[in-house]
Point group: C2
Chain length 380, copies 2
């Protein structure tokens, strides 16, 4: 008999990771990517946790992506040495990067403008350090980066490489793929992402610059790409836990979602068919990512404590420390189905945003449902 | 010459509190409430910080409101003894409440149902402890509570008082006042809140129960109430810092907003007129509270580093660690006005949500613009 009494004993609200699903999600993407001849450079931003990272990074030199220098420094301290800081570099952050390099960390920085490149070159010369740089390529107009066909790309590559920096790679992110409505649209986004990075790579390499890494990725395209020719690495972040947004995009099923918030019923409004829980936006986050999708889950889908979802039962309103579950009129459910003290699990719209509201995570281990606690790296 | 060089030196993004505005906001509400013959029981949930609380709580017995037991325990440890935990009590939280009582803390719990009351009475008897209870009164259908005219109120008061618990007070929260569009509408909400609590108070006291405290409050009604007869205390939380939602409601001006996020420009998309900053939703929060108001500020209003707002310049899109400022076509601003490395302050939609994304706050002190750091109490 397995023991999950601890799910009923811990103070609520708390964030729960289901290790079995977490591991299954990792295996799925790693096997898929490796079968296509590439490798995963996981983005660690969702959980920002060393304990979680150990499931993704086999050895000290395994490639990883981070979104803050706080993560880079914490993973470096834990012994990991191949870290891509995938946010455009601000010049005032170069001293922290240089410190990591001096400590033997192979940290890569990202840029897409001549002014950033000049700051890097100047700092490198003044401080006798050599930076490893990725240039961001724009594949879909989502955010930053420069077009793969642009003259600016070649100028930037020449400005960087050999001038206190090595151009290690090019990076594209198909951020628009989160808005795709069909599998075929995601496949097309994946093709466009790969084509952009290969076009950019050919042009830079024609200058005589090695530029060994061609990096692509977003969770949807990573799961739908059919051909990764030329692509040396695939980045994805939220795939380890998935969430309701990714379920709506079609990348996972509800059963794949490995992250939930455990909460307790604290009251009712019988007239309105409301059940109050102690998970408000402080525990669930303010993210309403499913609001613009075909299926809107409010602030999250309600499951019982064992993780089975109630059909269409959502947290519809949140205050800071209150969540309100509205019972659908035709659901056959009454507030008495959820007495005060009942524990429920809430599946999140956006796992990255929900995880960000917690300083630690409780992990339901596959082996005998044991408990483990993982710490989150906080701050910047 | 005052020195604010530290605003340019600290790592970004960081949360900044302007002490001068913070103190001015506190003085305004305290003077107003005391002139009306009542007193403020500040809600500490916005900043959840002992250092911030010292500006609000004159002595150890000053009344305060908290939203989590983590705050209650931290403020108790700091010596504060009059704490109202203003979230409906879940029975499994009673042992932590009892521990506080045994340590000499006058902590008050909130409930609105017979099943909660029964759990309190049972626990009190079994553990030889006496709880101090507030009953929640519904004044506007916003969330929980029972109607002031209901039989349920009298039944609940009798169920509690003298049975392992003391009925210390009644509590109403005019949560719907956040949606008011005119000053007169807020004044009406304040009248309704006071009327509800006085009605409930008269009926409970007619039973021979002392029930000394009649507590009302929400930041809008607290600032617009004209008559607090019978009301012994007024609760408000976000008033210490205010935010863009409160500016839109009409409770404060832009110049009163005491909380901002300091961020650095990290890139541009010239074609789209986009300026990228290193404050994404991790630093600003996902709160879009102004989206449903007359003036939508996106994810925040952009100011220069000295706090002067740019007219209509907002963070329009956020990713986890990227914010995108879209330059309005008719603004006369070009991306070159904001070179990489420029520091900007962003005023938040909702101060409670933005503060929740940070573990500590930097404080710009009134005296010589000195720097101080306040810690946030985290978790539950």
């Amino acid at each position: 008999m397995n023991n999950i009494a601890w799910l009923n004993a811990l103070e609520t609200p708390f964030l729960l990771i289901d290790e079995f699903r977490f591991q299954r999600n990792i295996d799925r993407l790693y096997q898929r990517t490796e079968a296509l001849g590439s490798r995963v450079r996981p983005h660690l931003k969702t959980l920002r946790s060393i304990e979680a990272g150990r499931y993704l990074l086999k050895d000290a030199n395994s490639p990883a992506t981070v979104s803050t220098l706080a993560e880079a420094e914490a993973f470096a301290k834990a012994g990991y040495t191949n870290l891509l800081y995938a946010v455009g570099i601000a010049p005032h952050k170069l001293p922290r990067i240089a410190n990591l390099i001096r400590n033997g960390v192979n940290i890569h920085i990202l840029l897409d403008s001549a002014e950033q490149a000049q700051a890097v070159v100047d700092f490198a010369r003044a401080n006798s350090v050599t930076f490893s740089v990725f240039i961001e390529i724009d594949c879909d107009g989502h955010r930053g980066g420069i077009p793969p066909e642009s003259d600016a790309l070649l100028a930037l590559a020449k400005q960087i490489d050999g001038n206190g920096a090595t151009l290690t790679g090019l990076l594209a992110h198909a951020g628009e793929s989160y808005a795709c409505r069909t599998d075929e649209a995601i496949r097309a986004a994946a093709r466009a992402e790969c084509e952009a990075i290969n076009t950019a790579g050919r042009r830079v390499r024609a200058l005589g610059i090695a530029c060994p890494e061609l990096s692509v990725g977003a969770t949807p395209t990573a799961h739908f790409a059919e051909d990764l020719t030329g692509v040396t690495e695939v980045r994805a972040g939220v795939f380890t836990t998935f969430d309701l947004v990714m379920k709506n995009v079609g990348v996972c099923t509800l059963d794949d979602i490995a992250l939930s918030v455990v909460s307790t019923v604290i009251g009712h409004n019988r007239e309105k068919g409301w059940v109050f829980i102690d998970a408000g936006w402080m525990a669930l986050s303010r993210d309403r990512g499913t609001a613009s999708q075909a299926k809107d889950y409010g602030y999250g889908l309600v499951c019982d404590l064992y993780g089975s979802p109630y059909n269409d039962l959502c947290v519809t309103i949140t205050n800071q420390e209150h969540g309100i579950i509205t019972l659908p009129v035709d659901s056959g459910l009454a507030v008495d189905h959820f007495p005060v003290g009942t524990r429920l699990r809430i599946l999140p719209n956006h796992a990255c945003a929900t995880a960000a509201m917690h300083q630690h995570y409780q992990v339901l281990k596959s082996h005998r449902n044991a408990q483990e606690t993982w710490q989150r790296i906080t701050g910047w």
